[in-house]
Symmetry: C2
Subunit: 177 residues, 2 copies
């Protein structure tokens, strides 16, 4: 189920970068949005409002840009923050999940003790693209004992079809392209 | 000048990890602190209180753990957030600063348009160790037109002497080892 939210004011603070990270790709750069106090706090607040105060125990941020949105969302919720990192970065016992990228494979890791059983978890990242990362994050949170309450993204690249991969979950994306 | 702050309640939520990232090193793992809503929000609030509401325009977070603290500090200050990243990660025009590590060299980058001239900037990272990263961050922010109002860290590894490298600036560290 898609949660709808009117956040048209954010759109003007996203910048198109042609040919990044490789030729032919237009990268959606959110750094102007992050640098603008109104846009940044609006984005955080929109996610918090979408899921309701008091209903989230832990907010998972996906390395590295996901941390920037997930951490203030956790703070505003008065929830804990849990990092989901690339392989080898987390120092304690981990669980991992690998998934396919356009070229090659990526592995995400989470600390095995991140959740108390049944804790309500919100997963936050900057962009929903093909949904491979998002789906792996959902699977990893569930394996670690969390209950995925939903996902939230600043940007959804709708033409890549990522929504289909996470259709079993509630999610919110603030801007769609 | 060192700003003193009583945050003893945070100490019990930091976990020692022996031999990470390499043999002989005891890593201070802050993930239990981040996962505890009281400890996480206390750490963020302690930094905000140290610098005073209304006096910071931009908060710079250093990739990647620095993002997790810097972003909610920016949110609480109603300031903008600016990422300071490893080489090649930022998509727009960048300025860079290289510095020596124990083995080899590291390069940090910032978007060249991150600041309006004279904006007050707070630099946030998880750990102050030798001060090499912190000093490079100060230099880079100044070159990009920001006015470094100070720095903030969750942890200071005092025995590594990083404070000496940033003695020209105000800074706060919440826990010292």
């Amino acid at each position: 189920m898609r949660i709808e939210f009117d956040t048209g004011i954010l759109a003007e603070s996203v910048r198109d970068i042609p040919d990044f990270p490789k030729p032919g790709v237009v990268f959606k750069d959110i750094t102007p949005l992050l640098a603008d106090p109104s846009a940044f706090s609006s984005a955080v607040d929109a996610i918090v409002v979408s899921y309701g105060r008091g209903h989230i125990d832990k907010v998972v941020g996906i390395e590295a840009r996901g941390f920037i949105i997930a951490a203030p969302v956790a703070y505003h919720f008065n929830a804990g923050f849990v990092p989901l990192r690339k392989a080898g970065k987390l120092p304690y016992e981990t669980m991992s999940e690998s998934y396919d990228l356009e070229y090659g494979e990526e592995t995400l890791e989470i600390h095995a003790d991140s959740f108390n059983p049944g804790e309500k978890v919100l997963i936050v990242d900057d962009v929903l693209a093909t949904g491979g990362t998002a789906r792996a994050a959902c699977d990893l949170v569930a394996r670690a004992g969390g209950d995925v309450a939903g996902l939230a993204f600043i940007i959804e690249l709708s033409f890549l079809g990522g929504a289909e991969r996470i259709k079993d979950f509630d999610f919110v994306s603030l801007l769609q392209y």
